[in-house]
């Protein structure tokens, strides 16, 4: 990137700092985010409609992971390595944010940004299992996310939204 372009970017009031989420089907993984130094989210249970799994992988050098139900029962699959919930979570994160952004956030060095490459690179470090310390906070972030649907729309003008133009670019 040239100097001229860089200074234009720094002197623009409307640069798009984060690209919007890309469309994906939500049934299996209703919530995924890159936050608090983790790739984290919520995965619906395949067998029990009332149950969800709260899964996360940390952006630390050993990719500490955790998976448990919303009632704090540990996931049986997540003993020595990533369980299917975590694999689904990585997959959906790549769909929503694009592989490059996921790799950058997790600080995974890959030659080619793909779900496969990101997952293999993390597994190669023999990630370690962490107790589900974060589960409660991830789950409450999910509930907060869902609560946005319950907030009332308004026809009072919100001139501050002028600061947020849409973009056709994708992640």
């Amino acid at each position: 990137m040239g100097d001229v372009l860089l200074s234009d970017w720094e002197k623009s009031s409307t640069v798009r700092v984060i690209p919007p989420a890309r469309p994906r089907k939500l049934a299996k993984v209703p919530f995924v985010e890159l936050a608090d130094g983790r790739l984290q989210g919520v995965v619906s249970s395949g067998s029990d409609i009332e149950r969800v799994y709260v899964s996360s992988v940390a952006a630390d050098s050993i990719y500490s992971f955790a998976c448990s139900t919303n009632n704090n029962r540990p996931c049986g699959g997540a003993r020595g390595t990533f369980c299917n919930h975590i694999l689904a979570l990585i997959n959906e994160a790549v769909l929503q944010y694009g592989a490059e952004r996921v790799a950058r956030y997790l600080r995974v060095e890959v030659e080619e940004s793909t779900t496969q490459a990101i997952t293999s690179a993390m597994l190669a470090t023999r990630p370690s299992h962490l107790d589900a310390l974060a589960a409660a906070s991830v789950f409450s972030r999910f509930l907060r996310h869902l609560a946005y649907l319950e907030l009332a729309p308004t026809t009072e003008p919100v001139p501050e939204m002028q600061w947020f133009p849409p973009t056709r670019e994708v992640a």
């Binding site: 002197k11 009031s13 907030l151 001139p159 947020f164 670019e169």
Partner: protein, 463 residues
């Protein structure tokens, strides 16, 4: 439109921006540990407002900040100085716009009410978070500093009186969170974040969000086009229209808005679905109709506060006919004092007889010998208007905007030739729904996404 008049930069604008940029550099490094060069930036800002009523307060604030002992009031004074400079730039650019469009300047000056002490605690909390940001600077950002916004935003969102600040802080914090840690950022959106920071800080002051005077509007509303705004967790659609008062007085440019908070996975056609049930105007727009208003509340700066019970569907009305015949005689909407910022300029214009081309900045429309860059990125994805259709168009309704040193055109609609017939293509065509094949597919995907989230919310919330 005399686009040639938009080519030059008005006197004083470059100098004012130099002071703004100097301050923005200081804010990038953080006001707690200023480098000598950055402290000079604060002095430069203070000097730029030396002949105004802000002079002594800003000079004091610059001095305290340079010594690393600035308090909240000092941050507010600095934000006020920056806002005042950008207000002056806005006024100079708007004078240029008015000359270019040849439309009458808006007559009444907008006075914002003062006072309003509601929800004082939460505003204090917001101000305190913004002060923490200023101390840390963009390069000092970490997830702990950013996380301080979450309880503030959560407490504000349900309160309609605080929605404006909540929507701003929520979008701002998401950008900051995605950029953590600040120390490793490759580039810093210094102007943008200083804009958002100052805007938010002033909104926390008493009267910052006070409404302007309201009158009742009765007459015909002729839509021109729809501007969509969105961040990860909020969306707003603004319909730009000409209002013809029933008493025969001069037509005026007005806007009608509808907005909603949203989960970040509601996107594309899902945005229209969220907004559609709350403003019948969106349906009327998609059907190419005018609306008849009776006693609809209208603010002094030209914002209709929409309620369906004050509106009924009118006759068919072609936005291009409105743009050709009524728009030239319409009065522009005046701007509220705190809305005066160059990036908030959004003036409806009509162009035809231009040559479409390309330069290094992208698509351009050359009008009266002046190439105007097209801001195609602002065209919502859930709609039939595309950059390609603009390149082959013969007429365009758009919003004239300004950013990063130049005017740009945001297209709202174009007339283009399809199978030897002139066809109008509107960015907001799908606002009220669509029978377009791609549109129907997008609507289905969006319905499914919201369906899943509502089902999950139904099972998991309030348990």
């Amino acid at each position: 439109m005399r686009a040639d008049l938009l080519a030059s930069t008005p006197d004083g604008v470059d100098e004012a921006f130099a002071a703004v940029d100097a301050f923005d550099q200081a804010l990038t490094g953080g006001l707690l540990r200023l480098q000598p060069a950055q402290a000079t930036g604060l002095t430069q800002l203070a000097e730029a407002v030396a002949n105004t009523p802000l002079a002594s307060r800003v000079a004091e604030a610059a001095e305290k900040a340079a010594a690393g002992v600035a308090a909240e009031d000092h941050f507010v004074a600095l934000a006020a100085a920056r806002t005042a400079l950008l207000g002056a730039i806005h006024d100079a650019l708007m004078a240029q716009v008015q000359e270019a469009t040849g439309r009458a300047a808006s007559t009444p000056e907008v006075v914002q009410a003062t006072g309003g002490e509601a929800a004082k605690n939460i505003l204090t909390a917001a101000r305190s978070w913004l002060s923490d940001l200023a101390r840390a600077g963009w390069q000092g950002l970490d997830s702990d500093v950013v996380a301080g916004s979450a309880p503030v935003v959560s407490a504000m969102l349900p309160d309609m009186g605080l929605r404006r600040l909540a929507a701003l802080l929520d979008g701002f914090a998401a950008e900051l969170a995605a950029s953590c840690p600040g120390a490793t950022m490759e580039r810093v959106p210094a102007r943008r974040w200083a804009d958002l920071w100052s805007c938010a800080l002033l909104l926390t002051l008493p009267g910052g969000m006070a409404a302007t005077a309201i009158e009742k509007a009765t007459g015909r509303l002729l839509p021109l086009g729809i501007d969509l705004q969105e961040h990860a967790t909020a969306v707003q659609a603004q319909v730009h229209a000409v209002f013809e008062p029933a008493d025969g007085t001069q037509p005026r440019l007005v806007r009608a808005s509808v907005s909603a908070p949203k989960p970040d996975t509601v996107i594309g056609a899902g945005l229209w679905q969220l907004l559609r049930p709350h403003m019948s105007l969106l349906n009327a727009f998609s059907d190419g109709r005018a609306m008849e208003l009776t006693d609809m509340p209208l603010t002094a700066e030209g914002n209709l506060i929409w309620s369906d019970e004050h509106a009924r569907r009118g006759d068919p009305a072609d936005p291009f006919a409105t743009a050709r015949v009524v728009l030239p005689n319409a009065a522009d909407a005046p701007t509220a004092p705190l809305g005066r910022h160059p990036a908030r300029i959004a003036v409806p214009v009509f162009l035809e007889g231009y040559a479409a081309g390309k330069d290094e900045g992208g698509l351009t429309l050359t009008v009266a010998g002046h190439p105007l860059t097209v801001d195609a990125d602002r065209i919502p994805v859930a709609g039939p208007l595309t950059p390609e259709s603009i390149a082959t168009s013969g007429a365009c309704i758009g919003l004239l905007r300004w950013d990063a040193g130049a005017f740009r055109l945001q297209p709202l609609a174009v007339e283009t030739i399809v199978k030897k017939k002139v066809v109008a293509v509107h960015a907001g065509a799908w606002a009220g729904g669509t029978t377009d094949k791609d549109g129907v597919k997008a609507e289905k995907a969006a319905t499914d996404a919201v369906g899943v989230l509502r089902e999950r919310a139904g099972r998991l919330l309030r348990k």
